[in-house]
Amino acid sequence: MTAASTTTRPRQQVPPGSSRAVTAAQLSRTQRILLGILGTGSLIALWQLGASTGVIPPSALPGPAVVAAALPGVLTSGEFLGALGDTLLTWLIALALGSAAGILIGLVTSAIPFLRRPSMVVVNVARAVPATALLPIAILMFGLATEMKVAIAFWAILWPIIINTSYGVLGTEPLRLDAARSMRWPWWRRQVYVTLPSALPSILTGVRVATGTALVVVIAAELLGARSGVGTFLRLYQQALRPDIVYAAVIVVGLLGALLYTVLVRLERRAVGWRASA
């Protein structure tokens, strides 16, 4: 692949947190795990200290013991699990639809020269308004059901996926396309066997970024009115003045997010393994 990493190059969506350099330091795996426990423990201790000295009022943030005590209840409550399932299903549908549409549009618009720049202009205009701002209009159009959540999350992730797809396509090594042409491959075969695999790393990065965006937007939609989902659950218990349950749920959602992210990174590595040493 090309090493086009100049600063002036228009950028893809690159997810941060790929902190290879930091963690690849001279620490062993065990050391890192122990230090991680120590560090996280110190934060929890700080939290406990704040709670027991009364610096943090319990109504704002109950102590770690209180929140931990609420965790099992949250994890076994049908209400929470149902809401979580609802959110994840919505998220998955939006992600599948948004990725499919975004990749397709990205491939088509960048394969056809006269559509390339005009479509990028449209994409950049369309995504200037944060998707969450459009929630009121989505609610007007789709009501408070799942369709509304899917629609808004779809809108939010469509543009970054189109952009990443088209950067991937435009970054295709021209020499490989020449090689394919010299082998007399027809247009479609060049697209499927050369352009698409070349663009894949960039597409997958786009999809990974989109998973985060989609979850944020789905939960935002639930907070602002949707009838079911984690956001709805959180809103309900915040209004019912049960901060312990709210915090427990927030922690579960965060851990789940981290898990999903890790899985995606693994899948991505497997899918573009050839890239590592290329």
């Binding site: 090594e173 490989r176 090689a179 010299s182 082998m183 007399r184 491959w185 075969r189 695999p197 890239r275």
Partner: protein
């Protein structure tokens, strides 16, 4: 089949920014001949080769393979690109890289498999089908790239500085490999290179281009018989032809910067020896 280059000219761009890359050039490569094309940077040698491959359209003139004018990549013509790292498909195994090369020919599966085996054996890489290109050394990858060209059993093989990116020892081996393959597959070969030793060593004929604008300035026959890395380069014919090409290539460069000398000279390691 003979390859006729007839009054070919290439201009990049148009209007005030147009640049003449190659002025009218004509020559014929006879069937079975091995020619090398040399010249300084910017002489249009790669451009010429890409037009012969049907990958670039000449601005004027035309190229014929036998009696058929070339208007796109023609069947029976294979291209080996300079940079194997950028021309192989890293997402395909070696076997897939090779078998896909014959995709346009719609051959039976067994025939493709046979050809892939044969091509890999010919470049001394039998049994590497399951590897990915990036698991191999540079020299091996370039051999894969050459094998990929062989899969279509080409009558004409066009090579664009195929050995520029490998080390000196590998390069000497590959020069002999290319010569052996020419005999084995009975091909017409045109090879672009900036290495004068190499140009004279492998070819029956050296086409010399000059730069600014790119144009043909000499067509030098080389009569060497069987090549051998040890003795050939000491033969009077080799020394004479090498000097001849060297003078021709250097002449325009001598008036410009001296910086390009390194590129135009023979390999430093060879000169020391």
């Amino acid at each position: 089949m003979d390859l006729h280059v007839e009054g070919v000219k290439k201009v990049y761009g148009d209007g005030p920014t147009a640049r003449l890359a190659l002025d009218e050039t004509s020559f014929t490569v006879e069937s079975g001949q091995f020619i090398s094309i040399v010249g300084p940077s910017g002489c249009g040698k790669s451009t010429l080769l890409m037009m012969m491959a049907g990958l670039l359209k000449p601005t004027a003139g035309g190229i014929r393979l036998g009696s058929t004018p070339i208007s796109g990549p023609p069947p029976g013509v294979a291209v080996v690109f300079q940079d194997y790292g950028r021309s192989l498909f890293p997402w395909m195994t070696v076997g897939k890289n090779l078998s896909m090369a014959a995709a346009a020919d719609k051959l039976p599966k067994a025939e493709v498999a046979r050809r892939v085996d044969e091509a890999l054996t010919a470049v001394d890489l039998a049994g590497t089908q399951a590897l990915y290109p990036w698991q191999m050394s540079g020299g091996m990858q370039q051999r894969v790239a050459i094998a990929r060209a062989l899969v279509v059993e080409p009558t004409v093989m066009l090579m664009d500085e195929p050995l520029a990116a490998v080390d000196a020892q590998t390069r000497a081996d590959l020069e002999d490999l290319v010569l052996a393959l020419r005999d084995r597959y009975d091909m017409t070969v045109a090879m672009v290179t900036h290495d004068i030793d190499e140009a004279v060593y492998v070819a029956d004929r050296v086409i010399v281009l000059a730069a600014h604008p790119g144009r043909l300035i000499a067509d030098i026959p080389v009569d060497l018989g069987r090549r051998d890395q040890l003795t050939t380069k000491a033969e009077p014919e080799f020394v004479k032809r090498r000097a001849e090409v060297f003078t021709l290539v250097r002449r325009p460069a001598a008036t410009s910067s001296a910086g390009s000398d390194a590129e135009l000279d023979g390999r430093p390691s060879e000169l020391k020896a």
